[in-house]
């Protein structure tokens, strides 16, 4: 997977929707679930895991150019169920789940609905719970570039992923992602009112990671996940924003590999 996912893309149909996914590496399976701003081709974090794991990174249906959306989908839990279907279809009974931001919410839903099928759970800047202080940043009120820039503490890290001037294709992809977020997470915005009690059923060891400078998801969300998941640990990545996997891929890979095993 050196340099990106080129050559590793596959597609299969789940619940009537084509699901594209990048799959690479051998070892125990790890499902990586991407942010609400789409799945960048540059995937140093996934690449680092693929050295010792069977890494599966799907594009959430409807998140990006050429990604067909499920018209029927109405909630983030629907998306989690769809991914349960994807794993079953690929014959993966038990996997570690690594959720990034919005994808962390999806991973938490997946873990809560089938606790026995989760090897390890990693939530990085996860949305999905209502912060007791502050709010999850409302992308409806800010521009496409402003929102994506807010994911990074260091502007140079944003530039490295998206370029100083993101392309018009990228802008369009962000608008498509945003529409899909509205379709399934509009109200309440980016959290569930029923997830927290269900997290008590999760038995897998959980690692909760938070960028110390996260401006998108308040630190309290990570604190709540760590307090609610029965077997969990909280790690804060210093000098890093919301998109830990994009801003500090090596540091996150180290944390995750130490946790799920080399």
């Amino acid at each position: 997977m050196a340099g990106g996912c080129d050559g590793y893309w596959q597609e299969t149909e789940v619940a009537g929707v084509p699901v594209r996914y990048c799959r690479c590496g051998t070892g125990s399976p790890v499902l990586i679930l991407h942010h609400d701003i789409g799945c960048p081709d540059r995937a140093a974090f996934a690449e680092a895991l693929s050295g010792s794991h069977d890494v599966l990174m799907p594009v959430h249906p409807g998140f990006g150019l050429g990604s067909e959306r499920a018209e029927w989908m109405r909630s983030v839990r629907d998306l989690a169920v769809l991914y349960r279907g994807l794993l079953a279809k690929l014959g993966i009974g038990r996997a570690s789940l690594v959720g990034l931001g919005f994808g962390g919410w999806v991973a938490a839903e997946m873990a809560s609905m089938a606790p026995a099928d989760v090897d390890r759970l990693v939530l990085v800047g996860a949305m999905g719970l209502q912060p007791r202080e502050g709010f999850i940043l409302d992308q409806a009120l800010v521009g496409y570039i402003d929102y994506a820039e807010a994911f990074f503490k260091d502007p140079a890290a944003f530039d490295a992923v998206y370029g100083r001037e993101p392309t018009n294709d990228q802008l369009e992809a962000w608008d498509i992602c945003r529409e899909m977020c509205f379709r399934i997470a509009w109200k309440p915005y980016m959290y569930s009112q029923t997830l927290a009690p269900l997290l008590g059923s999760v038995t897998a060891p959980a690692l909760v990671v938070h960028g110390a400078e996260d401006e998108v998801v308040p630190a309290d969300c990570a604190a709540q996940y760590a307090a609610t998941l029965p077997n969990s640990r909280l790690e804060t990545v210093a000098d890093c924003g919301h998109a830990v996997a994009l801003e500090r891929p090596e540091a996150l890979a180290r944390l995750v590999l130490d946790f799920i095993g080399e």
Partner: protein, 413 residues
């Protein structure tokens, strides 16, 4: 010809410098700058304008609503409609319109409108709109389902008006256990529905499919003709021929007793930094999923400052040149309106007479001259051009109540 008066009901006393400083005058521009003392005075001045419009012989009063912005003080058009239902005798109360997707319970809307129709003794025209992008955010309504909610709420309102209750409604966005309103419209089968719009092709197509008149909002003559081409084509496919009774037009026209003053006052149509709906971030005016996917590319590029507003943004002078703003004495205004009528052939015409900081005295002069000089001349022109309103043409309320539908023409081999 049906002739109407319209004002956006501007909250013109907000401090313009604060808006410029903040960089926006919509959605997020703080209501700390809304002064209810001025608000109270202005609401009563607008009411005085409407009553005077009836007195000077204007056929209809056009009402609308917007939220979180000084360009329009009406937060609920049904409030003014209800007031006018009780205080006027003859004018049509033309709502252009209620934003259907913002309704969480369309049956309640159906009840309110039925009450207005009964209190006004059958003078309601119940237009419906999707609501601007900002309205979705102001109301917390999902923009991605805007069009679905619009169409579904419409169907529920019409059923609540026309079907005997109780019945149950199970839609995708609305589920009503018991629909059985004890308030139904006086007008049968139901009050006329007119659909205003600016840009969305889907709305033009939908209006033509319903056989509802479409009201083009201040579009250029060239764009208005394009709208009618789309409407007329869909009408033929649906088995009827569209005419002036299917066409409405709203235009900014300020009339005064002297030319210079008229033009000075007409500048107020661009009172909010050149944007009549106020300055807003593009993602507020066009939230994701609100607009047609075919416009997606243009809007995201506009939002990033990489291209001009797809909705268009032109100077006062250019708008005067394009006849999207007309200002003058009746002698100079009428020939310009004649040209619009000749070119676009509407059966419904609304004059947006006053905006911004135009004084109440000048507003009342404008209304008097529209009612006593401009509209009498327009009526003669309309007769000459055979421009009949839906009322004069006795047009069916909707396609469902049409008795003249032809089988669509066979496609050419």
């Amino acid at each position: 010809m049906h002739l109407m008066y319209f004002t956006e009901q501007p909250m013109s006393t907000y401090p313009a410098d604060k808006g410029l400083e903040f960089g926006a005058t919509a959605l997020m521009f703080s209501n700390r700058y809304f002064d209810p003392v001025d608000g109270s005075r202005l609401y009563n001045e607008f009411l005085e304008q409407y009553l005077y419009a009836e007195e000077v012989g204007i056929d209809g009063i056009m009402l609308n609503e917007h939220h979180n912005a000084p360009f329009c003080m009406q937060a609920k058009a049904n409030i003014f409609a209800a007031i006018l239902a009780g205080m006027t005798e003859k004018v049509k109360i033309v709502m252009l319109g209620n934003p259907l997707p913002l309704a969480e319970n369309p049956v309640r809307l159906a009840e309110e409108l039925a009450m207005i129709d009964m209190i006004s003794k059958g003078r309601l025209v119940s237009g419906f709109v999707r609501g601007g992008g900002q309205e979705q955010l102001a109301a917390g309504v999902n923009p991605a389902y805007n069009r679905e909610r619009f169409e579904e709420a419409h169907d529920l309102v019409v059923r609540a008006w026309t079907e005997t209750g109780p019945f149950r409604f199970e839609g995708r966005h609305y589920q009503n256990r018991v629909v059985n309103p004890w308030a139904v419209p006086l007008q049968k089968p139901y009050p006329r529905v007119w659909v205003p719009g600016v840009i969305s092709r889907e709305t033009i197509v939908w209006a033509a499919e319903q056989r509802y008149p479409y009201i083009a909002l201040n579009t250029s003559i060239a764009d208005t003709k394009k709208i009618w081409q789309v409407y007329d084509d869909v009408a033929l496919e649906c088995g009827y021929e569209a005419g002036p009774e299917n066409r409405g037009y709203l235009i900014q026209v300020h009339v005064s007793d002297n030319e210079e003053k008229a033009i000075e006052n007409a500048r107020q149509f661009r009172w909010m930094q050149g944007e009549f709906t106020g300055l807003a971030h593009p993602v507020w005016s066009t939230p994701s999923g609100y607009s047609s996917p075919r416009n997606r590319r243009a809007f995201v590029e506009f939002a990033a400052g990489r291209r001009a507003n797809p909705r268009g943004q032109t100077s006062f002078e250019q708008q005067m040149e394009d006849l999207r703003i007309i200002a003058g004495t009746p002698d100079t205004v009428v020939p310009k309106l004649r040209r619009i009528l000749e070119e676009t052939r509407p059966g419904i015409l609304a004059l947006w007479g006053n905006d911004g900081t135009v004084s109440q005295e000048d507003s009342m002069t404008c209304i008097r001259m529209i009612g006593t000089e401009v509209f009498p001349a327009i009526r003669e022109i309309a007769k000459e051009l055979d421009l009949k309103s839906p009322f004069e043409a006795d047009a069916p309320v909707s396609i469902k109540y049409s008795t003249d539908l032809k089988a669509p023409a066979a496609a050419a081999e």
